[in-house]
C-alpha cells in the first residue's frame, strides 16, 4: 500500500464510526416516524457517502455489500406499508458492515466467506423482489458515477454549485411544489443567490394552472458532495431539465456567477469578456449588460461570500497535534509568568507594555487552543440510542430516551471515560431500574419507561445527569448485601449517601444472577474509576418507585485551569477559581485552635491549615498573628483555608502528580510557576469531603 492509500485509509477509519452513529440514529428516528421523508433521504445520502468512502479504500467486499444494501433500503423505505421488522434488519446490516470494516481494513484479516455469501444472498433475495442490480451489473441509479461516489473526501470543503432546474413534467394537484425543492436545497448549505425566471411561453389566458412555467438558477455554497446535492432531485430527474455543476476554484468568477444566476447575463457573455483584460464588472457595464447598481449589488454579495468561505473553511487536525499545541500554550503561559516575575523586579515601562501584550496574546491563544478540543456532547450521546433500543427489546421493556443539552461542549479527551461511565449507568438503569410494562402499569406509571440524559455547564463544570423513572435503588437490599460482603459494618450508622455509594464498590451487585448486561458487580465500579481518571465525581439521588438520578460532574478541560494562588507555609497552592467565595483576614486569637471553628457572620466555618495537612510549617500558628482565610464553596458546603499570602489569579497549566504524592492529599495536580517553583493544585471536592464531617 502506498503512502497516499494509507492516508486515505486512516482518514476513512477515523471518520466511518461517525457516519455509522448517524446512520443508526437516523434509522431509529425513522422507526419512530416512518413517514418522515427527510429522514429517508438522509439515510440514503449517508449510506451513499459511506459507500463512496469505502470505495476509496476498498473496492470489493464492503462496497458491493453496501451497494446492495443501499438498493434494498431505497426500495423498502418507499413501500406503501411500513414493515417495522425492516428497521431491525437494517441495524443488523450496519453491524455486519462494521464487522467487515473491522476485519478487512482495521485488522487486515480475512472474513468468513460463507457467512458473507449467505448475507449477500439475503440481500439479493430482497433485491430480486425489487429488480436491483449489483454494482458490477450496471451504473445503478440515475445520477451516480464512479467519480461522484468517490468525491466524498472533499466533503468538508465548502464548494460552490450552480443548480439550474426547470420543472416541465406534468403535475397533478398538490403533488409537488418548487418551494419544497428550494427548501431541501437550502438545508444542504447556504444559498448565495437564487433567481426564479419565467419562461417566455407563460400566457395567463391559455396557461395550465398545474404546470410550472418558471426555471431557477441557484448558487449554493455547501460542504456536501455532488451526489448528495443531486439526491434532492431524486424524483424529478427523469422528466425535467436539471443541471447541477460544481464550480471549480480555478474557474470560478463569483461576480460572474452571481450575475448569471440573476439572469442579468449569460455564461457566454462571461467567456467573451474574459478574453479582454479589463475588470469584469467594468467590462459588463461597458457592454451594457449590467448597470452600475447591478455591479454594486453583485460586488457586495461577492464580498460576503468570500468572507463566508474564509470563516467556514474547516480543517481536520489529529487530536495529538492539538495536544501539542495545548502543551506549548501551557509552556508559553509558564514562560510568561516568568517574564512577569522579572518585570516586577525591574522597573521598565517598555518591558511592562511588552509583557502586557504577551499576557493578552497568551490568553487569546489559550482560549483558541482550548476551544479546538471542545466538541458537542451529542457526538457521544448519539451512540446510546441504538444501545437502548436493542436492550429494551432484549429485556421486553419499553423505553424512551430523551437527550437534553446535546450541544453542550466538552473536552474531547474526556469522551472515553465518560462513554464508559454512561454505558454502565444506562445498562444498569435498563436492567435493574426500569420495570417491565405490566409492572409499570400496575404502579400507575406509563407503559414505557424514560431515560433522560441532560448535559449542561454550571460554575465552570460540565454536569451530566442520567435519570430513569424506574423503581429506584433499594437501600435495605444494598445495605444487607454490603454487610454480607463485609463492605459495611452492621454496628455503624451510615448515611443514605454512604449506603447508595456502595454500588460503586468493586464486585458489588445485589443481583443473584448475572446476565450479559449487568449483575457482575463490575460495571458501576468502572464508572467511579473512569471518572476518577478525569477528575470527575458522581452523585446519586434515588426515590423508591420514582427513579434514580446519577449526576456526573466533570471539569471543563483537563489541561489548564483558572486558579487562585495562595502561599501557605513553604508551598504555593492553587485553588480552582470557580470554588472561591471570599477572602478575609483573621487574627488567630479569634480562632478556637482546638476545633478551628470561626464564627463568620453567625455561621460556623471550619478552617483548615494547609501547613498542617502538608506538614510544611514555615510559621507556627501563634496567637496574635494575622493570617488570611480563603473561603471555598462546593455543593453548599463551606470551608476556610488559612493562607500566609494571597497571590491572586493565575492561569495554571495542570501537570500530573505521581500517585504516591497525590494519595489522600486532596490534590488534582501541580503547576510550574514562572520562577520554576511548583504550586500544588487543590482538589476542592475531596478536601471538602475529607473535612466536612469535622466541620459538622
Amino acid at each position: 500500500m502506498n503512502d497516499y492509500q494509507s492516508k486515505l485509509e486512516k482518514s476513512f477509519l477515523s471518520e466511518y464510526e461517525e457516519i455509522f452513529s448517524s446512520l443508526e440514529n437516523d434509522i431509529l428516528n425513522l422507526e419512530k416516524n416512518p413517514e418522515n421523508q427527510e429522514i429517508k433521504k438522509t439515510i440514503l445520502r449517508r449510506l451513499h457517502t459511506l459507500k463512496g468512502s469505502c470505495g476509496m479504500v476498498e473496492n470489493n467486499y464492503i462496497v458491493n455489500y453496501i451497494h446492495l444494501l443501499e438498493s434494498v433500503i431505497k426500495s423498502e423505505l418507499y413501500k406503501n406499508k411500513v414493515n417495522y421488522e425492516i428497521f431491525t434488519f437494517f441495524l443488523k446490516q450496519l453491524d455486519y458492515i462494521s464487522y467487515l470494516i473491522t476485519q478487512i481494513l482495521k485488522k487486515k484479516s480475512g472474513i468468513n466467506e460463507t457467512e458473507y455469501l449467505k448475507n449477500i444472498e439475503i440481500l439479493k433475495s430482497y433485491s430480486l423482489k425489487n429488480e436491483v442490480k449489483t454494482i458490477s451489473d450496471s451504473n445503478y441509479g440515475f445520477f451516480s458515477n464512479q467519480k461522484d461516489e468517490l468525491s466524498h473526501l472533499e466533503e468538508n470543503e465548502n464548494k460552490i454549485y450552480r443548480i439550474t432546474f426547470k420543472l416541465t413534467e406534468k403535475r397533478y394537484d398538490n403533488t409537488w411544489y418548487p418551494d419544497d425543492l428550494i427548501n431541501d436545497i437550502s438545508k444542504l448549505g447556504k444559498i448565495i443567490n437564487i433567481s426564479g425566471k419565467p419562461s417566455e411561453s407563460i400566457d395567463w389566458s391559455t396557461m395550465n394552472i398545474n404546470q410550472c412555467y418558471f426555471f431557477w438558477i441557484i448558487l449554493l455554497q455547501s460542504n456536501r458532495n455532488l451526489p448528495e446535492i443531486k439526491d434532492v432531485f431524486l424524483f424529478f430527474i427523469e422528466k425535467n431539465e436539471i443541471n447541477i455543476e460544481e464550480l471549480s476554484n480555478e474557474s470560478i468568477s463569483l461576480i460572474g456567477e452571481i450575475l448569471i444566476s440573476e439572469g442579468k447575463i449569460k455564461k457566454e457573455d462571461i467567456e467573451n469578456i474574459l478574453n479582454s483584460r479589463k475588470k469584469i464588472g467594468q467590462m459588463l457595464i461597458d457592454e451594457h449588460k449590467i448597470n452600475e447598481k447591478d455591479l454594486e449589488n453583485a460586488l457586495k454579495k461577492q464580498d460576503n461570500l468570500r468572507h463566508d468561505l474564509k470563516i467556514e473553511d474547516e480543517l481536520k487536525i489529529p487530536t495529538k497535534k492539538i495536544d501539542i499545541i495545548m502543551d506549548l500554550v501551557g509552556e508559553l503561559i509558564i514562560t510568561n509568568s516568568n517574564l512577569n516575575s522579572i518585570k516586577d523586579s525591574i522597573e521598565n515601562m517598555e518591558l511592562e507594555q511588552v509583557q502586557n501584550s504577551i499576557n493578552k496574546i497568551s490568553k487569546q491563544l489559550h482560549d483558541v487552543a482550548f476551544s479546538m478540543k471542545m466538541v458537542p456532547i451529542s457526538q457521544l450521546l448519539i451512540k446510546f440510542n441504538r444501545m437502548i433500543r436493542d436492550l429494551s427489546i432484549e429485556f421486553g421493556k419499553k423505553i424512551n430516551l430523551i437527550i437534553e443539552g446535546e450541544n453542550t461542549e466538552l473536552d474531547k479527551s474526556l469522551f472515553s471515560s465518560l462513554y464508559e461511565s454512561l454505558l454502565h449507568i444506562i445498562r444498569n438503569a435498563i436492567d435493574h431500574g426500569i420495570e417491565v410494562p405490566e409492572e409499570r402499569l400496575k404502579l400507575g406509571k406509563s407503559e414505557a419507561g424514560l431515560i433522560l440524559i441532560r448535559a449542561y455547564e454550571e460554575s465552570g463544570e460540565i454536569i451530566i445527569e442520567i435519570s430513569d423513572d424506574g423503581k429506584g435503588l433499594n437501600k435495605e437490599k444494598i445495605f444487607k448485601k454490603a454487610i454480607e460482603k463485609k463492605i459495611l459494618k452492621e454496628s455503624v450508622i451510615y448515611t443514605e449517601d454512604e449506603i447508595y455509594n456502595i454500588i460503586f464498590e468493586s464486585g458489588f451487585s445485589t443481583t443473584e444472577k448475572a446476565n450479559l448486561v449487568s449483575g457482575r458487580g463490575i460495571g458501576l465500579e468502572v464508572v467511579k474509576s473512569e471518572l476518577k481518571k478525569v477528575n470527575g465525581v458522581i452523585e446519586i439521588k434515588t426515590e423508591k418507585n420514582k427513579g434514580t438520578l446519577f449526576r456526573i460532574k466533570l471539569p471543563l478541560t483537563l489541561a489548564i485551569i483558572e486558579g487562585f494562588m495562595i502561599k501557605s507555609g513553604f508551598n504555593h497552592f492553587i485553588i480552582p477559581l470557580n470554588f472561591i467565595l471570599e477572602c478575609f483576614e483573621i487574627n488567630l486569637d479569634l480562632l478556637n485552635t482546638n476545633d478551628m471553628i470561626y464564627n463568620l457572620r453567625g455561621k460556623y466555618l471550619k478552617i483548615i491549615s494547609l501547613e498542617e495537612i502538608f506538614n510544611n510549617y514555615q510559621t507556627n500558628n501563634q496567637s496574635g498573628i494575622i493570617k488570611k482565610v480563603v473561603v471555598i464553596k462546593f455543593n453548599n458546603e463551606l470551608i476556610g483555608i488559612l493562607a500566609d499570602e494571597i497571590l491572586g489569579n493565575i492561569q495554571a497549566v495542570i501537570k500530573p502528580l505521581i500517585k504516591m504524592i497525590n494519595r489522600n492529599m486532596c490534590l488534582i495536580g501541580s503547576s510550574i510557576l514562572g520562577n520554576g517553583e511548583i504550586a500544588l493544585i487543590i482538589d476542592v471536592r475531596n478536601l471538602l469531603k475529607k473535612y466536612k464531617n469535622e466541620a459538622s
Binding site: N174, Y177, G196, I202, D203, I209, N210, F214, I218, G263
Partner: protein
Amino acid sequence: MIKKGEKNKIDILIPSGLIEENISSFKKELSDLNLEDQLNKSGSNKFLIIFDLSKITEIDFFGYQHLYAFYLYLKKKSNVTNIVINNESEVFMNFIKKLGLSFNE
C-alpha cells in the same frame, strides 16, 4: 377583490389566500373584472394599474405564478402605461425572497 373606478387608474386588491386551491376562483374573479373590455373600450386612453398585495397572508408557488402571468398579460396591453406593485405584505415579500422571484423581469 376591489376595482376602483378612478380615472385612468385601476386598483386591484389581491385576495389573502394566493394558493393553488384558490387559483380557479381567483382566475374567475380576475375574468369577472372585465378588464379586457374596459381597456379595449377606452380607445387611446392610457391606464395605470396598481396591484395591492397588502392582504396576502398565504401564498404558494402556483398562486404566485398565476398572479405573475396575469401581470404579464396586462403589461402586454398597449394602453397600460405601467403596473405598480404596491403594499407587498410581509408574507409575500418573504416568499419571493426565498424563491428568488421578482415582478421586474
